[in-house]
Structure formats: C-alpha cells, structure tokens
C-alpha cells in the first residue's frame, strides 16, 4: 500500500497549495483563451484548432505541475526522507505517477469544456472516447515525467533538464493525442488515425517499464 500513501501525501500537498492550483488553472485557461483569439473569430477547422489548443494547454501546464512536484520533494529534504525510510522505490514511483496523473486529469476536466465552448466542438457523443485518449496521453505524461523528475531532482538546473528530457519523449504521445481528438471531433471516429492509439499505448508501457528498471538507480543517483 506504499504507493497509496505516496499518492495521498502528494494530493494533500497540492490541495493545500492554493496559489499553485490557482496559477495552474489560470495559466491553462489563459492559453485556451489566447489561442482561441489567435485562431478566431471565424474558425477554419474548429476540430483541428480545438484539439491543438487543448493539448498545447495541457502540455505546458503539465510541466508546471511536474516542476512543482519536484520542488515539494526537494525543499526541506522530504524526498531524501522517503529514501531513508526504506520504502520500495517502484511503489514510490507508482504513487507519484498516480498523483501526477490525477492532477493532470483534473486540469483536463477544467480545460476540455472551455476548449469545447470557445471552438464550438461540443460533441457529447464522443466524450467517452476523448476521455480515453486523454487517459492514454496523461498516463504517458505522468509516467515519463515522474521518471525524469526523479533524475533531475538533485541538480541545480533541474527544471531545464526535465524539459530537455521530457519534451522530445512526449512528442509521439502528444501528436497522437492531437490527431485522435481531432478525428473524434471532426468525424466522430478514430478509424483513420487508429495507429496512433497503439503508439501511445506502447509509449505508456515503455515509460512504466523503464521506470521499473531504472527508478531505483535514478533515485539513488539524485544525491
């Protein structure tokens, strides 16, 4: 049950940090607003523009969330204390991945209705499929992000290293998310771009498997 304790601890810390949550929410909503004005007022392809806006907003807001989670581990030595407590490293990784996933999921629930309203692509019939695509994308983000955040933890330029490692890794996942969401909103089906689903799933499994193999080494190397 170690991973549940780690998830609960992370969620408690985020929930008490109102300024961080407000910044995260305002940042992602501002991105949606700015891009809707940039593409509008008459949208050429609302489904394409809305999906690009949704995933761009989540991509950049997600890095804010991961950086904050990294800071919480570094300040006052909490992350070191987790190591010294003798917890199973992969359980710690899973707990942090689940908490990052839930934070990103909450952000998705905030941004999705705004993007749908601003770009007028609110097709409720495909909402479950869009949620499924989001789950795949956000699992990948959380899995790779948590692994790279642990690697960057002990370094002075940790935010820079996190971005340098994470952004290229997430490209296949994010292109897949944009293409699948666009297809769902435009045609109501993912058939023309179904292969992206497999690519995203492979990237998710790869991230979780790499962490199972590397997380302990990465955690110890952080000092």
């Amino acid at each position: 049950m170690t991973f549940l304790w780690v998830t609960l601890k992370d969620l408690r810390l985020h929930a008490r940090d109102f300024r961080f949550l407000a910044t995260l929410g305002l940042f992602s909503l501002s991105l949606v607003l700015i891009l809707s004005f940039a593409f509008g007022p008459i949208f050429q392809e609302p489904a394409r523009e809305a999906s690009a806006t949704l995933w761009a907003s989540l991509f950049f807001a997600g890095i804010l969330g991961l950086t904050r989670a990294l800071d919480l581990e570094s300040e006052s030595g909490g992350g070191d204390a987790v190591r010294l407590a003798g917890a199973d490293p992969y359980s710690v990784y899973l707990g942090k991945t689940v908490s990052s996933f839930l934070l990103l999921g909450a952000l998705f629930c905030l941004v999705l209705p705004c993007a749908a309203v601003f770009f007028d692509v609110g097709n409720l019939a495909v909402l479950p499929q869009v949620a499924g695509v989001a789950a795949l994308a956000l699992i990948g983000y959380a899995a790779w992000g948590t692994l790279f955040a642990a690697l960057a933890r002990g370094l002075k330029a940790r935010e820079l290293l996190l971005s340098v490692l994470l952004f290229p890794t997430l490209i296949p996942i994010w292109i897949g998310a944009v293409k699948l969401t666009h297809s769902l909103w435009a045609d109501g089906t993912i058939e023309p771009v179904r292969d992206w689903l497999k690519i995203m799933a492979v990237m998710d499994v790869l991230g979780l498997a790499m962490a199972a193999w590397l997380f302990e080494v990465v955690q110890e190397a952080g000092e």
């Binding site: 304790w5 408690r12 919480l72 006052s76 030595g77 070191d80 204390a81 003798g86 199973d88 710690v92």
Partner: protein, 183 residues
Amino acid sequence: MLLVGANGSGKTTLARIMSTMLRADRGSLTLNGDPVEKRLIQSRRAIGFASHRPFLYMGLTPIENLEFFGRLSGLKDARARASRQLDRFGMTPFANTPVDRFSRGMLQRVALLRALQGEPSVLLLDEPYAGLDDDGTATLNAFLEEARNRGTATLVISHDRDRVAPLRPRVCAMRAGTVEDRP
C-alpha cells in the same frame, strides 16, 4: 557516542555516509556484518537519521508527516505511535498544524521524532539540540536513554557537550576526516 570536532572536519559527511544518503569514495559500510547495499531497504529501516535539514514535508502536519514516514517504514501502528511521541514532546496542541508555520525548535522536535519513531537499531543525530529549549533537551535525553537501554547504537554529533553530559556518552573527536577515540 558523542562525536565532536571543528567545523569542516567531516562530522556531517560521516553521518550522511552512515545513514546511506551518501556513498563513500573509499571503504565500505556494513550493518551487522552485511554490506548495506546488499539489503538497502532493511538497512535503512534499521537506521534513524536526523540532520540539519528537517527531512519533512512542510505542507503536512506533524501527525501526517510521522504517519506517512512510519507507513513507508512498515509500521502498522504509525499514527498511534506518532500521537504518543508527539504527546511526550509536548506537541499535541500543534499536531494538526502544518509544519511550515513552526519555529526552529518545534520543527526540530518533529524532525527528531521522525528519526526516532521506528525504534531503529542505529541512531544518527547531527546537532539534535539545535533550537531545543530545556524541556525539549530533557525529553530528547529521555528518548536517548531509552534507546540506549534497548541496545540502540547512537551517534550524537554536537558542539553542545553540556546538554549531552547527563547521558555520560563516550566522546570521540573528528579531525580532518579521521575519528580519534579521545576528546
């Protein structure tokens, strides 16, 4: 054992190596005859370490911090144990206040309880009296006396010999990275 020495002599580095936080450039670290790397999780659960940094999550309360770290160490009764220990240190009225609002001394009490809570067989305390008032010092010494009676090997690093004196510890000195068995 009390370890004394000038600033920069290597006391804190030694404690960090013994706690498994740092790897030594040379030599090996063993616990009960086994290299700690061989059984890292078990070794870490057998070592309690408090240092200059509090090793706590500042957004959590003392009871949440202690329960969290207790659970990670495998303590089933972590919350009940944390409540009892907080009570002994006079911290019950502050048990549900996030530790980022605490003074240095109160933070130090919680940090010490985190190191002590699993009743470890090795206890490493780096400047444990920093920020503690007279009551806090007396309670810490009572905890250390109990630990000694349980057979816990305790290393206290401190410049404040008067506060450790009631425990009548063996005193060693560190000079330029070498421990000498005389003050």
